[in-house]
């Protein structure tokens, strides 16, 4: 290795540094380092003249490495590296010694701060002389996107990506796309019919030439890395040929099996052969293998006999499909927190205590009651309905977070109820109203002013039945009175939780979830739709509770990130990654076991690093028992010399 020629540039930062650190002395001490050939100080290194000073020195002194002692690297590292690279120095041969944020600004004694600055600079010199010049890594991209989840988020993302000209694979676990939104009645605050605005999009998905839809399917394995994922999808048998089925419905009529209808959340029944709802996409019947008597053993074949299209095939088999994609969008949606977990609200033992999605089904014109409001226990029209908010949410014993949409949909529920039962009385029990959204506050006010819905501020303590009457035991914290409100129906605004598959999928994708199981974004503000695994994006309620408009916006955002990725011919990757010394590596597999990105594979007793998957954390380097795997520019020898420089003077 040729001898390094280092230049050290100490910034005054006006008085920000020079006020506490003797910058002249720092430069002077630095110049004593055997590798340093030039050291100076300057008022503002980041200014144009400051940068010119560095560039000139690089040329004049033939510097091979530069240390700028200034502010934190997150501030101007790029500035200085750029300046250096303009005169031919490798980007990585410039390092910043942070003597402002972590030195001059936090200390007041000049002696000690100067001493510390010198040590920081010395250790940075030790590092930079050992830095390798590096160039970014490039790799090609598969121009295809996988979208997981066929709710509104997945539908929107799939359409956006497909419209941009890329192939899309849309995977949905149930027999139809549409998700939760398909179950809804009207949407707040505009009261658009959910199905009316959703079904055209579902049809668009079905017809889109670039979208390949797999229903009754789930992703079971993902390998590879950004731009080059290899995905395995398990497609379960539908037993009905979607191309042949003309949804005549004859099969359903003859099917002898009746089971609760999950689409109506148990408020109605369906057959073993069924279509979840008339507008389902794909528009075809499906057989519920758990319920069907015809599958195995064959004891019933009624549907096959009546199907003119011969669309039914009991021998349909599961398939494993493999796809290669460049980007993945995860949109697996949400579930409601189970109401059985709140025993004081009836433990699920009172039929007329229902959850919010059940109420949506009651409201829906396609629902079990065709849009009339009757209560489950006796089919009577409830005259007094209590809507209870924050059930399970904001509760340290259940879900600590706010489920965000309940204030709005409860208001909508109350309003819709008043539409349908004008003489009925609606109570909303709330802690506070969260209506921060365009038109939301106005909507709430309308519900209160125009519909006379009674808002009672106070959390319900208990729901019980006395003499056959449901009673809500509550408080009005504004009047300071305890209340016992007799009602006919209670609607619980259950908190929102991630869909049950989210965790399993997160493990397959190697993306983190938060404490509650929602997918974790890289940064909540600046990178809200990216997962830590590059090339994998998240959107919708799977990432956190949100309403439809936010979901759609986020889905489009995720799509645009995916599109931006897929539009590139090559991707560039930070070259500060792990590298294996094959002479030392004996293939113990420790690095492979602990790499959070699956970037390392041991092949023939030697570890290999996938340069694109590696994010450069260096956990492998620390774990490697023989020092065979090293993180570029954070190698053991570098850090050790830094430690020595920090401590010895």
């Amino acid at each position: 290795m040729p001898k390094e020629r280092v230049g050290v540039f100490v910034c005054h930062c006006g008085r920000n540094i020079a006020g506490t650190v003797d910058v002249k002395k720092v430069a002077e001490e630095a110049s004593k380092h055997p590798a340093v050939v030039f050291a100076t100080d300057y008022k503002y290194m980041c200014s144009d003249p400051g940068q010119k000073l560095i560039k000139d020195a690089i040329r004049e002194y033939k510097l091979t490495a530069v240390v700028v002692a200034a502010c934190t690297p997150s501030m101007h590292e790029e500035t200085f590296r750029k300046a250096c690279s303009e005169v031919g120095l490798n980007w990585y041969k410039c390092e910043i010694a942070n003597i402002r944020e972590q030195c001059s600004w936090v200390h007041s004694e000049i002696d000690k701060a100067t001493e510390k600055a010198i040590r920081i600079v010395n250790s940075t010199i030790e590092k930079v002389i050992r830095n390798e010049p590096l160039t970014p890594i490039t790799v090609g991209i598969k121009k295809k996107c996988l979208v997981i989840g066929g709710g509104i988020a997945g539908i929107q993302a799939a359409l956006d990506v497909a419209d941009a000209g890329f192939e899309v694979i849309l995977v949905e676990k149930s027999p139809t796309i549409g998700g939760r939104m398909a179950q809804l009645s009207e949407t707040f605050p505009t009261l658009d019919c959910a199905q009316c605005i959703l079904t055209p999009k579902m049809v668009a998905v079905a017809r889109h030439p670039r979208i390949k839809l797999y229903t009754l399917s789930e992703v079971i394995d993902v390998e590879g890395f950004v731009g080059n994922f290899r995905v395995k999808i398990r497609k379960k048998p539908r037993y009905v040929d979607i191309d042949k089925c003309n949804i005549c419905g004859e099969c359903e009529k003859v099917c002898p099996v009746i089971v609760p209808n999950e689409f109506d959340r148990g408020l109605s029944y369906r057959k073993a052969i069924y279509i979840p709802f008339p507008q389902a996409v794909p528009a075809a019947y499906t057989i519920d293998p758990e319920a069907c008597l015809g599958l195995n053993p064959v004891i019933c074949g009624e549907c096959i006999e009546v199907c003119d299209q011969q669309a039914i095939n009991y021998d349909d088999k599961e398939e494993i499909i493999e796809e290669e994609v460049g980007a993945i969008i995860v949109a697996t949606g949400y579930n409601l927190y189970p109401k059985e977990k709140i025993p004081e609200y009836g433990y699920g033992k009172y039929e007329d205590v229902i959850d919010s999605l059940q109420f949506e089904r009651l409201l829906s014109s396609t629902g079990p009651t065709r849009g009339t409001i009757v209560r489950p226990s006796d089919g009577k029209v409830p005259k007094r309905v209590a809507f209870i908010q924050c059930v399970g949410s904001r509760d340290v014993n259940h879900l600590e977070y706010c489920s965000k949409i309940c204030c709005m949909y409860s208001a909508k529920h109350a309003m819709m109820y008043k539409h349908l039962v004008p003489d009925g009385q609606a109570y909303i029990f709330y802690i506070d109203i969260r209506a921060a959204g365009k038109g939301y506050e106005e909507f709430i006010k309308r519900v209160q002013e125009e519909y006379g819905v009674i808002y009672i501020r106070g959390r319900v303590s208990k729901i019980y039945k006395e003499n056959g009457q449901l009673i809500v035991q509550a408080v009005d914290t504004l009047t300071g009175e305890q209340l016992e409100v007799p009602v006919d129906l209670v609607v619980l605004a259950m908190g929102i939780v991630p869909s049950p598959d989210a965790k399993r999928l997160a493990e397959i994708l190697k993306i983190p979830v938060d404490k509650w199981g929602f997918y974790q974004e890289v940064h909540p503000k600046l990178r809200p739709v990216e997962s830590v695994v590059s090339g994998i994006f998240v959107c919708g309620a799977a990432q956190g509770p949100k309403d439809i408009s936010e979901t759609v916006a986020q889905a489009s955002a995720a799509a645009s990130k995916a599109i931006a990725l897929l539009s590139k011919d090559m991707i560039y990757h930070e070259p500060i990654i792990a590298r294996v010394n094959t002479d030392l590596c004996s293939g113990c597999g420790v690095c492979e076991s602990i790499c959070p990105y699956g970037a390392i594979k041991v092949i023939n007793k030697v570890a290999e690093v996938n340069e694109v998957l590696c994010e450069g954390c260096g956990a492998c380097a620390a774990a490697c028992p023989v020092g065979a795997i090293q993180l570029r520019n954070f190698r053991d020898d570098q850090i050790i010399s830094m430690i020595q420089a920090v401590l010895t003077r």
């Binding site: 030392l584 492979e592 076991s593 007793k605 774990a623 028992p625 053991d636």
Partner: protein, 331 residues
């Protein structure tokens, strides 16, 4: 006898004798090479007078066996260094201090007190402790004093060649034999500091199967239930030092279905074997469930490992970064 023979001297430090036996076994082979090698001084048996060593005028290869535990070991090592063209640290004690390094977890005085005052068979009413000055019939019969700490050879002198093993066997000793013979034949100096037989670790030659992910859910000691004789020890939660031990032994212990305890020592780049292996082992604990467990729970599981120093530094404590018991105030 031909004057072209290379002259070999063997000097003992603190050792168990295993290395001598292994050298003797090598000797059986050397019988066939007696034309090449002349062992001019075998300290194991010779009168171990420093002057005798001093009086030798020419040594090609000086082999040092054992660690430094007596003052005169250190002196002998220095003389050997002066006389010999090449100094070989033979065996793990010479290379790293060996198992006696664990003695550095106590002071010399604690060691002596334990052995001579506090064992159940000892009867020592006068509290005699060897090492104190003893004069009998006017003659000083004081045995030589122990050094304060047990040390490897390279703490005293520069070492040219390391032959690891407790004792060196298989590849390790074969390689050494080849080096000796080839040096004897063509006098080509060998590469200094070279480890025998190289940098690869036991994993390289280990016949066991490794799962895709090695996960340690619970540390198991060797007596705690059956050991799968085809699966990587670490994957069974059993500490095995194979990943951090140079491969020169032919994986003999592993083939006997026992985990490696690291007697050959680590590859050259390891600064502190325990420090490094702490990193390796801890990294593997509960990798799949890290986020499900609380920090405390995770720490508790990691800390269930018994005796880190006696396991990770069984043969190398004397050559560790911190190689003696410290007396840092508690709390």
């Amino acid at each position: 006898m031909s004057t072209n023979k290379i002259k070999i001297t063997i000097v003992p430090g603190a050792a168990c004798g295993g290395c001598d036996v292994s050298l003797a076994n090598l000797g059986e082979r050397l019988l066939e090479a007696t034309e090449l090698v002349d062992i001019v001084f075998w300290p194991t048996v010779a009168d171990f007078k420093l002057e005798d060593l001093k009086n030798l005028d020419h040594i090609d290869i000086g082999i040092f066996i054992g660690s430094i535990r007596l003052e005169k070991h250190a002196e002998a090592a220095k003389i050997l260094r002066e006389k010999a063209k090449f100094v070989v640290a033979y065996g793990t004690c010479a290379c790293y201090g060996g198992i006696f390094g664990l003695g550095n977890l106590s002071t010399r005085e604690e060691l002596l007190k334990k052995v001579y005052l506090n064992t159940p068979t000892t009867e020592n009413p006068e509290e005699k402790i060897p090492g104190q000055k003893v004069v009998i019939n006017g003659v000083d019969v004081t045995p030589p004093r122990l050094t304060e700490w047990n040390l490897p050879l390279n703490n005293i002198v520069t070492v040219d060649l390391y032959v690891q093993g407790c004792p060196p066997i298989e590849d390790s000793i074969n390689h050494f034999y080849e080096v000796l013979v080839s040096y004897a034949k063509n006098r080509k100096p060998f590469e200094k500091g070279m480890m025998i037989p190289g940098a690869k670790t036991l994993c390289d030659i280990c016949p066991r199967k490794k799962p895709e992910k090695i996960v340690i859910e619970k540390f198991r000691r060797v007596h705690e239930g059956p050991i799968d004789d085809e699966l990587c020890f670490l994957a069974q939660g059993i500490i095995c030092l194979g990943p951090i031990t140079v491969a020169g032994c032919g994986a003999s212990c592993i083939k006997a279905n026992m985990p490696c305890r690291g007697c050959l020592g680590p590859p050259a780049d390891i600064i502190d074997r325990a420090g490094k292996f702490i990193s390796t082992i801890a990294s593997l604990v509960e990798i799949e469930r890290e986020k499900e467990l609380s920090d405390e729970e995770l720490m508790r599981i990691v800390q269930e490992i018994v005796d880190p120093v006696g396991t990770f530094h069984r043969f190398t404590f004397s050559s560790g970064v911190i190689n003696k018991k410290q007396e840092d105030a508690k709390k």
